[in-house]
Amino acid sequence: MTVLQQEATTALTSTPWTFRVEGLVKTYGTASPANDGISLEVKPGEVYGLLGPNGAGKSTLVKQVMGLLKPTAGSITLGRYDLVANPAIARQLCSYLPQAQMPIDSFTVTEAIEIAGSIRGGQRSEIHLRTRDLIDRLQIGEWAGTRGVRLSGGVRRLVGFAMATVSPGRIVFLDEPTNDVDPLRRRLLWEQIRRVADGGSAVFLVTHNVLEAENSVDRLAVIDRGRLIAEGTPSSVKAECRGRMRLLLMLAPGTIDPELPDFVRDAHRVGNRYTIAINEHDVSASIIWAQMLMGQGVAEEYALGATSLEDAYIKLTGDVTAEGA
């Protein structure tokens, strides 16, 4: 560890800091920019979500923070440390769960988590306790002595999460942490993410799972084609859709799209799931219409609810294939 790294590790323990990305641009040759002037801020104790469709430039942003890619322009700072100029400090201060699976084929679950903690410089006794705690809380104890090569993709993902957070940095970058994880353990994973933030670290979460993010992040940014197109709390990002309701129709298999009444503001279909945006004062008319479609056998069921972050997200990105939703 260099002098600067040592100082950085201790200096940010007690002093307030902000993680700041300003005007970040990343281009590859003549292709359109993977990141195009992105600016955002994250504070200690926050769970910050970065949403966007595949290829939007989310992982590119994180890789620049971790010193794996070099920005074409812009700055990335943590407190008073310039992470672009000092990638070794970035590695010291930031923990990272990459999108790809961790290289743990030969490790047992316990070994993988403990050694990841040691590599991050944690104290052995503390790491041992924290490893057991994480294994218990993520309910993966039955695999504690199992080698990675025999684990399912979801359990491997949870082990990767534990490796990134057993001795967390000031900011923990999690790239698609819930991929392959079953619904029960996803909930446990979100609880642990919140615990990491409560412990004083910031969590920077990259995901395209909009529904989960809505319930779990404090603030979020949406990026599309490399540009930041919205930022704020889930409620503020949804504000664009305020005054609207969402009618969900499950169409009968094989039916074509029904003709839409005038009150429909927006509609998109994924498989047999037809999501329709309406104004609040059109609720009664929409229920009558939905019941009529059911009577005709066009729809099998319907549900009416408040607009979600997913609606705002789709409106923002113009993408009807919101994965994981």
Binding site: R91, Q101, R120
Partner: protein, 262 residues
């Protein structure tokens, strides 16, 4: 805004050394545990390569005299050290790239020199059984007498270090894992067929033997061979120097390509 503008307090040399040693021990464990499914296979293959090299090349030559036998047996040792460094190291890096774990390994908050030395230590562990097997088979098969000098230790370490660093440089520098595999295969052909590992350098065409004066392989062979035999070859200071220079160059290049940000 940059931290470089600050003047932080100096960290004592002892704390730097202890921090490096801690990282080395942890990374050694990471490598050892992380490849424990692979190392038995590598060790067995090294034993087969070492022993097979001695016996197989002997079959090519109808009458193996004492000097030829000593060339073959010490050549097998050099081959084991070179293969671990120049071939296995880049292939392990290529495998990380294929699995997608390369980014995680590069994001570890550790000195990269500690990671390299840990990797080399494991390489030496893998090579030793093959070396012992080659020398054991050679003494039984050809009834030769070896005389192991103390210079064997630095000669082995320098040969392995130079090979590993060159191999790591190749592994990190080449983006496509398939290209790395192709490169290492071509390297094996060059080392076995066109390098003075198992035969005297005089047998090569003049221009190639001249070229080998500047490449590391010939000098690796000279150093290892002279540390294991008496009167067969003379390793000079030049060999140590050439290999040391190649090691420094390889370490510098590896450091640059490891830290390279696309």
């Amino acid at each position: 805004m940059t931290a470089d503008a600050d003047s932080p307090p100096l960290l004592s040399p002892q704390r730097r050394v202890s921090g490096w040693m801690r990282a080395y021990r942890t990374l050694f464990r990471w490598e050892l545990l992380g490849s424990r499914l692979l190392y038995p296979i590598l060790i067995v293959s090294q034993i087969l390569v070492g022993a097979g090299f001695v016996i197989g090349f002997g079959l090519l030559i109808p009458d193996v005299d004492a000097d030829t036998a000593r060339y073959l047996s010490t050549g097998a040792v050099v081959m084991s050290l070179i293969l671990v460094g120049l071939v296995v190291s880049p292939q392990l890096i290529a495998q990380q790239k294929m699995e997608g774990s390369y980014d995680y390994v590069r994001s570890m908050p550790v000195p990269r020199s500690a990671a390299l030395v840990a990797s080399m230590s494991l390489g030496l562990m893998v090579a030793i059984p093959g070396i012992v097997a080659a020398l054991g088979v050679a003494t039984m098969r050809y009834d030769i007498v070896l005389s192991v000098h103390t210079s064997a230790v630095p000669a082995f370490i320098l040969t392995l270090a130079c090979g590993s660093l060159l191999g790591s440089a190749v592994g990190h520098a080449i983006d496509r894992p398939q290209a790395t595999l192709l490169f290492t295969q071509l390297g094996i052909v060059f080392i076995i067929g066109f390098s003075p590992v198992s035969f005297p350098v005089e047998r090569l065409p003049h221009w190639l033997s001249n070229l080998h004066e500047f490449l590391p392989i010939h000098h690796m062979s000279l150093l290892v061979r002279s540390s294991l035999t008496e009167g067969l070859v003379d390793a000079t200071v030049k060999s140590w120097l050439v290999l040391a220079v190649w090691t420094v160059i390889a370490a510098t290049v590896t450091g640059v390509v490891m830290g390279r940000r696309a």
